[in-house]
């Protein structure tokens, strides 16, 4: 508590310094701009546009405030090229031709909805004060890395994000960093949800080799004893939690421990083929964002002592990408394929088995049995097209960027019992099944008006089982501010995206930029 007060005061002081500085200019130390301070402060307010349904808890109504997130980033960037020439212990780096830079980002976040939101959310806090108070605020050394480069070799060490693959909106090969969906769910920008990891990462450019150019080997390693964090789980009752039925038994969340065996690691090779096609192949190990569930039962007691264990299974992924520009149609084609080896799935009868007792006694019709993990190999792929289109009747000076994608999924050795964990209301024993083959389409389009000051965008996603997401937004900028109004709505079947079909909302975002 004391440290939080200190952090708050420090944040206020730093923000005061920045805000009092001339708007839209970085604070620099030297006239070569090798050392720069920049900052961004943002407030985001969201109102629910639907009454809660099903197992969603607490029950919120249309017009309820569901988010008032305040976030600030303070960033320092420093290119050490000049300093290396003057500081003795750095001169060897300069003589060896090593370029060094570093970047540090501090993030400060406070979610005020539990203080000023509807009574239902205040009650959530009151019921679980310590957990919610911890959940609603964060003060992090968010990104902190140093870059070293010399000739064809590059290395980045520190807390960072690494994104592979060719997809937008949803992730496929881009599963290295976990996502934080707790404060805004899938309605938030992907990059805002990415959680940086302490990582060593490097690449080496082999240059030309036969038909290949820019042949590059890249690898990364997140030592498990440095960082084994996974996607956080929304506490019960928070506005973006999954709609789960109340658990009849306690829940224990098992996060990977900080041991070397829980390291994330990976390598990929990328190149341009015949100066035409970008390609890559790679393999990596990471952790799934969604936890899996197993029912653990201690039979030494009667009735048996049971708890649900939520665990984050590691997964190994092998995949590749291909992208190229098709000149006749002027489209960029993107594609990606990935095999997720032994990914955890959920088969209720295996993971959380209940054995019928035949006893007509309420509460004893079935007893929990020890569950076990279930896994399958899952093949996923994406094919996408990007095109800039002139629609001059609507915009004479800028094209419309149109991006379409199809995501496919095939579960090998499919079992018809494979399901996904939110239960089908009102039956807490029935789950939505996952088909052997599934697919989701996405469409994104945007353009700009008023010399880039006005930026409308629409994102649409459709899951083949009948769930839709529709997210139009309009951004406006007036230096040094950015304004955004965004509608997020999900409709249709209770599957995939559809689990959040009662969370439609409208959001208002104001951002202040220092530089």
């Amino acid at each position: 508590m004391k440290s939080r007060k200190v952090y708050s005061r420090l944040l206020c002081c730093v923000l005061a310094v920045f805000i009092s500085a001339e708007a839209a200019h970085a604070v620099t130390i030297d006239n070569k701009h090798t050392l720069e301070f920049t900052a961004k402060a943002q407030t985001r307010v969201s109102f629910r546009l639907q009454d809660s349904q099903g197992f969603t808890s607490p029950k919120l109504s249309v017009g309820d405030l569901v988010q008032w997130r305040n976030i600030a980033y303070l960033e320092v960037k420093h290119d050490l090229a000049e300093l290396m020439k003057t500081i003795d212990f750095m001169k060897p780096l300069d003589r060896w031709g090593v370029n060094v830079k570093y970047r540090i980002v501090g993030r400060f976040m406070y979610e005020a909805v539990y203080n000023v939101g509807p009574q239902e959310l205040k009650d959530v806090r009151d019921r679980d004060k310590e957990n919610i108070d911890s959940f609603k605020q964060a003060y992090d050394l968010w990104e902190c890395y140093a870059d070293f480069s010399r000739g064809p070799a590059f290395m980045r060490i520190g807390r960072q994000n690494l994104s592979w693959g060719e997809t937008d909106v949803f992730r496929l090969l881009d599963m290295i960093n976990p996502l934080d969906d707790t404060y805004g769910g899938i309605f938030e920008d992907l990059d805002d949800r990415r959680i940086p990891l302490w990582m060593l990462r490097g690449n080496y450019n082999f240059g030309y080799l036969g038909p290949f150019s820019s042949l590059t080997l890249e690898g990364f390693w997140v030592p498990g004893n440095w960082d084994a964090r996974v996607a956080p789980i929304s506490p019960d009752g928070t506005p973006y939690a999954l709609p789960l039925a109340p658990a009849p038994v306690p829940i224990l969340v098992e996060t990977p421990s900080k041991v070397m065996s829980n390291s994330r690691w990976g390598a990929r090779m990328m190149w341009v083929l015949f100066e035409t096609a970008n390609m890559s192949v790679g393999h990596y190990k990471s952790f799934m964002d969604l936890p899996s569930t197993v029912l653990n039962v201690d039979f030494s007691a009667f009735p048996p002592d049971a708890h649900l264990e939520l665990y984050f299974d590691d997964v190994q992924v092998t995949g590749g990408t291909l992208s190229f520009w098709q000149s006749n149609l002027d489209v960029v084609v993107r594609s990606e394929v990935a095999m997720f080896w032994k990914e955890s799935v959920f088969i209720p009868q295996e993971n959380v088995p209940l054995i019928p007792t035949g006893l007509p006694i309420p509460g004893l019709e079935a007893l929990p049995a020890q569950g076990h993990k279930t896994e399958r190999d899952i093949l996923r792929w994406m094919i996408g097209l990007d095109k800039n289109v002139w629609i001059r009747k609507l915009n004479q000076t800028q094209t419309f960027f149109v991006s379409m994608q199809y995501f496919g999924q095939w579960i090998l050795n499919h079992d018809s019992r494979i399901s996904i964990q939110p239960q089908l209301y009102p039956d807490d024993q029935r789950y939505a099944s996952i088909r052997e083959l599934d697919g989701t389409f996405t469409l994104l389009t945007n353009t700009t008006y008023l010399s880039g000051k006005l930026t409308p965008q629409v994102v649409v996603a459709y899951n083949a089982r009948g769930a839709w997401m529709f997210q139009p937004q309009i951004g406006f900028l007036r230096e040094p501010f950015r304004f955004l109004v965004q509608y997020s709505g999900i409709y249709g079947s209770f599957t995939s995206l559809g689990f959040f079909r009662d969370r439609d909302q409208i959001s208002f975002v104001v951002t202040y930029l220092l530089n």
Partner: protein, 434 residues
């Protein structure tokens, strides 16, 4: 009384000196200022759009009879030699690609200007002039520099700016290019990285351009998805990050020459803008790079002068002098290109750009562009060259303009730069990404 008279005299002299409403350079007074009272003096010497703005008082031309350096001599020695050595050495094939005149093979290493003598009767004259215009940047070797793009509106004045960092590596045009292995016949590598504002910072674009007719290869790093993506090379008439400039507008035309049809309209005399009648200082660094000196003129525009009548995008401190130009008509071969006919005014002596007018697809006048020429020189005069600095592009339909400036005190401008070609690889590009 005597004191008062002296005071009035001093004030009067100051008014005379500064009353022209433009900035003077040390030791120089303009021959005259062309403004709305004497606009006829510019008739026929500037594009019609600029003349209209002079008539309205929105633009003035401080004219000098001579500048203090001979820009025709402001080229590296190898480029000066090419004025004689390259005569007749190169030709154009049916695709508009430069080939060796004797063998017909694609010319992979051209030192200096490919077509130092252009015959106006040559049906390919315009294309040759455009190639010379392109090589005038290549002859100076690698470059790295920062620029600021400033948005200005007629009613709003200064609106916003973004800062970008450019790195250009040319594999033809200057002797140093021979040191680099180039099995893919790359003409040029470029990276543009946006450094501010915060929300765009980190956005980077990389270009691989080829000597052959092969299309450019473009990559973009988009911070929002933290990934390098392949992008279309055909979208060059789109506004650059919402500005009035399109990607192709740099140096009047920065696309692939064979993608356009060019026609030489005429040669004429014009009043062309210079950043300064004097040379701008260059310092040679320890690494042998040529870096613009810190004590540089700060080019000012109408939006800096809130009391004045000039348009916010009108240069206040540029000077104008008479030079011969080629006027070239340009049309894109791409039916979806957003511009119609363009007219580019190219200096005959230095092959640099000076003016451009853009018509829309219905052939109505749409935009006007002006580019300042500048001469650079070290104190000992061993290094000297011309280069093209600030660009102004105006869209009068929207009463809006964008200024690209290199002449701020904090701007970095390094010619004959040391760049690592590894930076222009897929792996190297990651260095500029968050």
């Amino acid at each position: 009384m005597k004191t008062a008279r002296a005071f009035v005299s001093i004030v009067g002299i100051c008014v005379l000196l500064f009353g022209f409403g433009h900035e003077l350079f040390a030791g120089e007074a303009p021959v005259e200022v062309i403004d709305k009272t004497n606009w006829e003096k510019a008739e026929g010497l500037v594009p019609a759009a600029l003349l209209e703005w002079i008539k309205k008082g929105e633009w003035t031309l401080p004219v000098v009879s001579e500048i203090h350096f001979n820009e025709k001599e402001f080229f590296p020695d190898y480029a000066l030699k090419s004025f004689t050595e390259n005569v007749g050495k190169y030709e154009l094939d049916e695709n508009g690609i430069i080939v060796d005149a004797k063998t017909g093979e694609m010319a992979k290493m051209i030192i200096g200007f490919p077509f130092p003598k252009v015959d106006p009767e040559d049906p390919k004259a315009a294309i040759k002039i455009m190639y010379n215009k392109q090589y005038v940047t290549y002859i100076l070797g690698f470059k790295r520099f920062t620029t600021t793009l400033t948005w200005v509106g007629k009613n709003t004045g200064y609106e916003r700016d973004i800062e970008a960092y450019f790195r250009d590596a040319y594999l033809t045009g200057f002797p140093g290019a021979k040191a680099y292995r180039n099995p893919r016949d790359v003409e040029r590598y470029s990276i543009i990285s946006v450094r501010k504002p915060y929300d765009l910072a980190g956005t980077s674009v990389m270009l691989w351009r080829y000597l052959s007719a092969k299309a450019d290869v473009n990559f973009s790093y988009i911070p929002a998805i933290r990934r390098v993506r392949r992008t279309t090379p055909a979208n060059r008439s789109d506004g650059f990050v919402g500005s009035d400039f399109s990607v192709d507008d740099i140096l009047a035309y920065d696309g692939k020459i064979p993608d356009f049809d060019f026609r030489l309209i005429r040669k004429q005399e014009a009043l062309v803008p210079f950043a300064s009648p004097d040379t701008i200082g260059i310092e040679v660094t320890e690494e042998g790079e040529w870096e613009m000196a810190k004590d540089r003129p700060h080019l000012r525009y109408g939006y800096h002068d809130k009391e004045g009548q000039r348009a916010p995008w009108a240069p206040v401190s540029s000077i104008y002098t008479k030079r011969d130009v080629w006027v070239i008509e340009a049309r894109s071969k791409d039916p979806y290109y957003n511009y119609g006919t363009q007219y580019m005014w190219v200096l005959t002596d230095t092959w640099g750009p000076t003016y451009k007018t853009v018509h829309d697809r219905g052939d109505k006048f749409w935009k006007f562009m002006s580019v300042d020429t500048a001469g650079y020189q070290t104190k000992d005069e061993t290094v000297k060259f011309v280069s093209w600095l600030d660009h102004v592009i105006v869209d009068p339909r929207r009463d809006h303009g964008t200024i690209i400036t290199l002449m701020r005190p904090e701007t970095l401008y390094v010619i004959n730069a040391e760049l690592d070609l590894n930076d222009f690889s897929l792996g190297g590009f990651q260095k500029y990404c968050k």
